[in-house]
Amino acid sequence: MPTVRLRDASEYPKPTQKLFEVAKSWFNYDFAEPPAMSRVMAWDPELGALHGRAMKRAMTPGEWTRAEKEMVAAVVSGVNACNY
């Protein structure tokens, strides 16, 4: 169980909620609520925007496809023993 209460998207300021739309578009999936990680990163919108941009830059297709990069992300998460 999370150690903090995850706020619903509606509890965030309107400008921040726009970030959730970006996340929905990124995953191309209509979440009932934005993923927990998106809501955590939105807690500090300045950090969230910078971190999110760095993530998107890293995940954007280049010499590797998005799918190949998703698999790199998955193995990194796996060896970090991250359940999320």
Binding site: M1, P2, T3, V4, L6, F27, Y29, E33, P35, A36, M37, V40, M41, H51, A54, M55, R57, A58, M59, G62, E63, W64, A67, E68, K69, E70, M71, V72, A73, A74, V75, V76, S77, G78, V79, N80, C82, N83, Y84
Partner: protein, 186 residues
Amino acid sequence: MAADAPWYEAALLVGVTNALNVVADSPLESLEPARPSAEAESVFAEIRDFYDRAEVPSAFRRVAGDPGYLADLWGAARRVFTDNRLTRRHKEALAFAVSVTTRSPFGTAFHLGELRRLGVGERGVMEVLGVTQMFSSYTKIADTLQLEPDMGDIAPVDHSPAPGGAAPASRAADRGRAEPRSPEAP
């Protein structure tokens, strides 16, 4: 990569990569035979050929005192790093990411060398490093807050049978139906 097969392949690669790294990064130089047996030398020749380099990686040299074990370990390593559903180039990227994440000096240097040898440029290396770094951040944020998986519905379950096997009758009828699956990435 909606099917399970490439993910099985990736997981097996992660395991073998870590197995090689833990031996190579440990202070086990003294285990390397001064004069490897003829059987070990035969395996070494295959290793040199596979990696197109004169020196046999220490992960293999250190287990050469048991040539039978060396042969099996090498066979497993060659199997997981050979082109299959995932390309050898992509597999080296995964191994590099695993090695960086587990702070393996041997694995990081070795797989970086392999990436370059296989034609991956600096940009390609930076892309893998960027993903590795970003997800080393997300995973620790998630763990600190003990976040629970919430992206399991993105991809459907793959009901195809194990290689060479047959799908259970109950599953065959459900094939193609979308169901929640465990998450693949944060």
